[in-house]
């Protein structure tokens, strides 16, 4: 059978339509996942209350209203911001390292951010704002380390990239263990849970920061998407064709580290999102970053919302860390991609 005709290129129209569909899916996920949980809420009244943005209770009891607006909705919005951030960062790292296997968690960059967050918690516990700041610093340093280790003459080959990720991850894991031993025993359990990716607890206060960083980061990378398209074909090619490689590289370093830093500070290390989502976006819409980055941002938000809903309902009333769900989906895909690489 002949292959179906492929669209030769991505157009603005196709991008707008795809993003509109994904934005509708995101809205749908936000609304309907907020109705799902161990406590069942009346559907009609909840939809009415959500549509009024919480101005009217629409007959919900005050407990139900609080569950919807104080517990579920912030958690779902945080899941959306974290998912969008990690997927966007993944797409950015993949362009920067010229390798579709690049992913913040697998490269140890999430661990860098985790070390930063833990240092903030242990030494500056009272100052919540230090968490995203140190997480960003940690992510940036880990990114630089991976970039230096992985980059060969011909870009980052899969072997070099994964090796660099293993080195950075294991080194930072031992730093994490060291910092953990400085904590008191009662906090260690909640930290272990958080390290695996957890949207239930400590990130709420960081919700506005995380959402802002996710939106600004995705926009900034999308606006530079055409440069990233050329960067994916090699730095020398990109340079020859007119890309200011140095400037774009620094921009991706900083934006991707900000995205990872803010999401890790809020929710720990949720793995594989940056691998799974950009891959699916490219598979269905093509490699052009002008469409795959915004699509990955929106798709990542939906993906983590769904994964987190599973995490909090599968064995309810107990919860799984969301990172366990994303890894369960991501690890097999990673093996598949590695075999193809």
């Amino acid at each position: 059978m002949p292959a179906p005709p492929r669209q030769n290129r991505v157009t603005l129209r196709k991008t707008v339509i795809s993003c509109a569909v994904l934005a509708a899916a995101l809205l749908f996920a936000i609304v309907f996942m907020s109705l799902i949980g161990s406590e069942s809420l009346p559907v009609r009244a909840s939809l009415c209350a959500l549509a009024s943005f919480g101005r009217s209770s629409c007959g919900l009891t005050s407990d139900q209203f609080d569950i919807l607006f104080q517990i579920r909705l912030p958690r779902i919005l945080l899941a959306a911001a974290v998912g969008g951030s990690l997927a966007t960062a993944g797409a950015g790292y993949q362009a920067l390292l010229r390798n579709p296997l690049a992913e913040p968690y697998l490269l140890g960059i999430s661990n860098g951010a985790a070390v930063g967050t833990m240092i903030a918690l242990v030494f500056f516990g009272a100052m919540e704002w230090t968490r995203p700041l140190l997480a960003f610093t940690g992510a940036l340093l880990a990114t630089l380390a991976v970039y230096r280790l992985a980059r060969g003459r011909a870009g980052a080959t899969p072997e070099r990239l994964i090796l660099a990720g293993v080195i950075v991850t294991t080194f930072l894991s031992s730093v994490i263990i060291f910092v953990t031993t400085l904590m008191d025993a009662t906090r260690i359990r909640s930290f272990t849970f958080w390290l695996l990716g957890d949207l239930s607890g400590m990130g709420r206060g960081l919700l506005p920061v995380t959402i802002t960083v996710a939106i600004v980061g995705a926009l900034a990378l999308t606006l530079n998407a055409r440069s990233l398209n050329l960067l994916m074909l090699g730095e020398r090619d990109a340079f020859d064709l007119g890309v200011e490689v140095g400037r774009v590289r620094v921009m991706v370093f900083v934006i991707a580290s900000l995205l990872v830093g803010s999401s890790v500070a809020a929710s720990g290390s949720v793995g594989y999102v940056g691998l799974v989502v950009p891959h699916l976006a490219r598979l269905s819409l093509g490699s052009d970053n002008r469409i795959s980055i915004p699509a990955a941002a929106l798709g990542g938000a939906v993906f983590v919302i769904v994964a987190d809903t599973l995490a909090r309902t599968l064995i309810a009333p107990r919860e799984l860390p969301v990172g366990a769900i994303t890894a369960l989906i991501g690890a097999p895909l990673f093996i598949y991609l590695l075999k193809r690489a």
């Binding site: 005709p5 492929r6 669209q7 030769n8 290129r9 991505v10 157009t11 603005l12 993949q94 010229r98 390798n99 579709p100 011909a154 870009g155 606006l223 998407a225 055409r226 440069s227 398209n229 050329l230 994916m232 074909l233 090699g234 020398r236 090619d237 340079f239 020859d240 064709l241 007119g242 890309v243 200011e244 490219r282 093509g286 490699s287 052009d288 002008r290 690489a341």
Partner: protein, 264 residues
């Protein structure tokens, strides 16, 4: 017009190009030949502003190249390097449209204009790739990929083409086709071309001007007839050669002589 004046490039205290002057003129193909490590590729990268000169200057249309923005340079100089890395699926059309990057305007929000698409269509026809425009680059044969690289360079509409071993992966007919494309572009669009190559006979056939390099220096330059002399080639390549007239073109033809009893 692109000009190198007394150009010296050094890496880690090693001189790669020494005191070299060169002018690329419209409608002319210049070929650089010389042994491995002679500094040919470094010269090409210096001419494009990719490596900096330790001394001397490179002048593009009357201005020192370091004063021009990357985009301005890329609108005037196109490079055909060796094969691109293709770890992500890219269609041929998308790949060729990469050549229009330097012409993007803020008004277009980073999207290609109608004109960009027309130019891409024209160069795809010119390189006989129109039928493959929707195919993925990594599904193409080596020769087709090399033509796509050429198409992308032509899509820049640059008036200077720098080609680094453009025929290395090509069979005989594709080698000639590719160089005919360069020749046509030079004649029709007032373009100047510089080709770095190991293939002396191909250079003899297509180039108007030859520059022979050894250890970073330009040791001889002139027309193929002037440069391709047995004693000159023997001195530079350290191998005995026979130079005779090509039976069809009449131009010089170089054949190395492998004499097992000779030490030279």
């Amino acid at each position: 017009m692109l000009e190198a004046r007394d150009l010296t490039v050094s890496y880690d205290h090693r001189i790669a190009v020494a005191d070299l002057s060169l002018t690329l003129k419209p409608r002319e193909i210049t070929a650089i030949i010389g042994p491995n490590g002679a500094g040919k590729s470094t010269l090409l990268r210096a001419l494009n502003g990719h490596v900096h000169a330790s001394s001397g200057t490179i002048v593009l249309d009357g201005q020192p190249i370091e004063r021009l923005s990357r985009r301005t340079i890329s609108r005037r100089i196109a490079v055909v390097a060796q094969e691109a890395e293709l770890r992500f699926p890219v269609t041929v059309l998308e790949f060729v449209l990469g050549g229009r990057f330097a012409w993007a305007t803020n008004a277009g929000w980073g999207w290609e204009s109608e004109r960009d698409l027309q130019i891409a269509g024209a160069v795809l026809r010119e390189t006989e790739l129109s039928d493959l425009s929707g195919r993925l680059m990594n599904e193409l044969s080596g020769g087709e990929r090399q033509r796509a690289l050429m198409a992308r360079a032509l899509a820049t509409e640059a008036s200077i083409l720098l080609l680094d071993e453009p025929t290395a992966n090509l069979d005989l007919s594709h080698q000639a086709n590719l160089l005919s494309l360069v020749r046509n572009r030079c004649n029709r669009n007032e373009t100047a071309a510089l080709v770095v190559t190991h293939d002396i006979n191909l250079a003899a056939q297509f180039a108007d001007h030859l520059l022979l390099m050894k250890q970073g220096r330009a040791v001889h330059s002139g027309t193929p007839r002037e440069v391709l002399q047995p004693e000159i080639l023997q001195e530079v390549f350290e191998v005995r050669v026979l130079v005779d007239a090509h039976p069809v073109t009449g131009g010089p033809r170089v054949t190395p002589i492998h004499d097992p009893h000779s030490s030279v």
